[in-house]
């Protein structure tokens, strides 16, 4: 609980949800701290959006409980929960102006006309859309709609804000800009954010903690650093960043003991086949370069090792150039890395 102030905002216990006989969420246990930026990360079909919808109250769980700030809300309707959502398609009301959209939650709560107008205007300013209040959502760009959706959800000052892949529809530049804004908004508002995403880079960049979901279950919960540096399973290792997985005979040959191990591509050095290297505390394997892709700041080298496993290595272009990358394929190399980068993985999936 990196920045949480100690109390729990959301508690999920034994949460299950099946559609027909297909389990979408299969026994999820989670604790999200007050004020935390928490992400649910997983591939499509992992159940992350269903978990979000269960927290918001759009779905009722097959079994298990949802607790918000100590109160069991499992059987409560969405309008009885102190939670708001930013939807993937933004879900702005097309027949209302931007200002009416933002004021909707206040109006429903019976705020005075004046308070509605004042707070809506302040919310518009907080997402830097002053002067857009009279427009219809259809006359806004994707990024602007995204901000209106954020302002509409935040203006009612919920205890928890849920975000369902909110940046998925934006182009790369805008996405990076919105990531920064999201983080700032969360810091300023001090509200618990729960973000659903399939983009591991986004989850790592924004979150205090991340839960990795796979097939309706939580594979691992941890800080971005924990997930990346000590993934608990082969799934987490390959989903969060990329990883070379060693198992069976290859593990025994290279690591020197049986089991399953992951090695991150950027931890590995590419040396000449007969190069000098430190044998103590290091793992090493010979191989032939199958392919080398020049990426500007780095070169991705694919090596078929003599242990029978294909390795991917990312080499920073500190002194090497595009010409060096072109010359690599077909040559014999030695891959070399410190033993501590051999991360033992449980073979759960």
């Amino acid at each position: 609980m990196a920045t949480g102030n100690g109390t729990t905002a959301i508690t999920l216990r034994g949460l299950r949800k099946s559609f027909g006989d297909v389990p979408a969420v299969d026994g999820v246990e989670l604790d999200v701290a007050e004020g935390e930026f928490f992400s649910l990360l997983g591939p499509s079909g992992s159940g992350k959006t269903t978990v979000l919808r269960l927290i918001a109250g759009f779905e009722t769980p097959t079994s298990g409980t949802v607790t918000l700030a100590g109160e069991d809300v499992t059987r409560r309707a969405p309008f009885e929960r102190d939670v708001t959502t930013v939807f993937q398609d933004y879900a702005l009301f097309p027949h209302m102006t931007v200002e009416q959209n933002i004021a909707y939650g206040l109006k429903v709560r019976g705020a005075s006309r004046r308070e509605q107008a004042e707070r809506a205007r302040a919310a518009l300013a907080s997402v830097r859309l002053e002067g857009f209040g009279a427009r219809r959502p259809s006359r806004l760009s994707g990024g602007q709609r995204q901000r209106v959706a954020l302002a509409r959800a935040l203006v009612v000052r919920p205890r928890v804000l849920l975000l369902d892949e909110p940046l998925g529809a934006l182009d790369l530049k805008l996405r990076e800009q919105m990531q920064t804004e999201l983080k700032e908004l969360q810091r300023d508002a001090g509200i618990t954010f729960v973000l659903v995403t399939h983009d591991q880079a986004e989850a790592l960049a924004l979150s205090d903690r991340v839960a990795v979901l796979n097939a309706g279950r939580v594979e691992q919960v941890g800080t971005p650093g924990e997930l990346y540096e000590s993934p608990a399973s082969a799934f987490v290792a390959s989903f969060v960043g990329t990883s070379n997985t060693l198992t069976g005979r290859a593990a025994e040959l290279i690591v020197g003991k049986p089991g399953t191990f992951g090695v991150r591509p950027e931890k590995i050095r590419v040396l000449d086949a007969d190069g000098e290297h430190d044998r103590a505390d290091h793992s090493a394997v010979h191989g032939t370069v199958a392919d080398a892709v020049y990426l500007g700041d780095s070169t991705r080298v694919v090596v078929d090792t003599d242990a029978g496993v294909r390795f991917v290595v990312v080499r920073q272009n500190l002194d090497t150039t595009a010409a060096d990358a072109l010359a690599l394929p077909g040559s014999r190399v030695l891959l070399h890395w410190h033993r501590r980068h051999n991360v033992p993985l449980s073979q759960a999936t």
């Binding site: 109250g57 939807f87 993937q88 398609d89 879900a91 009301f93 909707y104 429903v108 959800a153």
Partner: protein, 284 residues
């Protein structure tokens, strides 16, 4: 052959002309042409002794429409019936369409829509006479209502509205169904999420979004009711509407019948203009 195809490809105007020539001819000659003839024949008059048409221009028929008390009452009554039928159709169609478009399992929805359309497979006359039998003194409706101390409506204005509502209901359900189906679930979720109870979401989000569909359906029910002359003859008793007034005059005084016939046309044009302001025509 290839040469012709190439020419067509290069000339979009020729393509359009070939595509639309036949339907446009039909539309202009048969459709707008007959409307023009209707209006023009309203300007003729008849010989009072032989009932033969006299092709001299006069505004007498249209003047009679405005000045004669009976015609004014019949016109207003017809508009009232059309409005009542439309209102009843909206009230009945909305819950049905809500069920078929949003509540029923998605698998069953197309089947339900087909089921709603089945009354359209039977002949109009068969259905109208079926109602005549049900509405008869001592008929099904009387029999059903007697235990509650009530009588059936019998033949008359109420019966006409009832039967017209039954006849045109599918034309109201279909557009509302389509409109409700188009509303994304996320909008309703968002409304609840922001604290609105179900009734509120219905009123402030769902209804405004399907209003154009309701207006589109009302164009059907309103104009079909206004133009009808058969149902009122079968179950209307002595009720006079524009439709059967035209029908009863057509052999005796064709120019007057034509003048009467322009009344629903004008009313419907006015109605369409009013509906257009809701933006419903773009969703038809």
């Amino acid at each position: 052959m290839t040469k012709a195809a190439g020419m067509l490809h290069r000339s979009p105007r020729l393509r359009l002309a070939l595509l639309l020539a036949a339907p446009l001819t039909w539309l202009v000659v048969a459709y707008l042409g007959s409307l023009a003839v209707l209006f023009l024949s309203g300007l003729w008059t008849t010989d009072p002794f032989t009932s033969d048409i006299v092709r001299s221009w006069t505004l007498d028929n249209f003047r009679a429409l405005v000045t004669t008390e009976v015609y004014r009452r019949v016109a207003l009554r017809s508009i009232g019936v059309a409005l009542a039928v439309t209102a009843l159709c909206v009230v009945i169609a909305f819950p049905i369409a809500f069920y078929t478009a949003r509540v029923a399992r998605p698998r069953w929805r197309p089947l339900l829509v087909v089921a709603l359309l089945t009354p359209l497979w039977a002949s109009y006359l068969v259905k109208a006479y079926a109602w005549r039998v049900m509405l008869a003194r001592g008929g099904l409706l009387d029999w059903l209502l007697t235990p509650f101390g009530l009588d059936g409506p019998g033949y008359g204005l109420t019966a006409t509205i009832l039967v017209l509502t039954y006849l045109w209901l599918p034309y109201m359900i279909l557009p509302i169904h389509a409109g409700l189906e188009r509303v994304p679930d996320s909008l309703l979720d968002a409304s609840a999420d922001l604290g609105a109870r179900t009734a509120r979401t219905l009123r402030t989000v769902l209804l405004p979004l399907v209003l154009p569909s309701v207006a589109a359906g009302s164009v059907f029910t309103f104009s079909l009711s206004l133009g009808d002359y058969i149902a009122v003859q079968i179950v209307g008793g002595k009720t006079q509407l524009i439709g059967n007034l035209v029908y009863s005059n057509i052999t005796l005084d064709l120019p007057l019948a034509a003048a009467l016939g322009t009344v629903p046309v004008v009313v419907i044009v006015l109605y369409l203009l009013a509906v257009r302001r809701t933006g419903a025509l773009s969703s038809l």
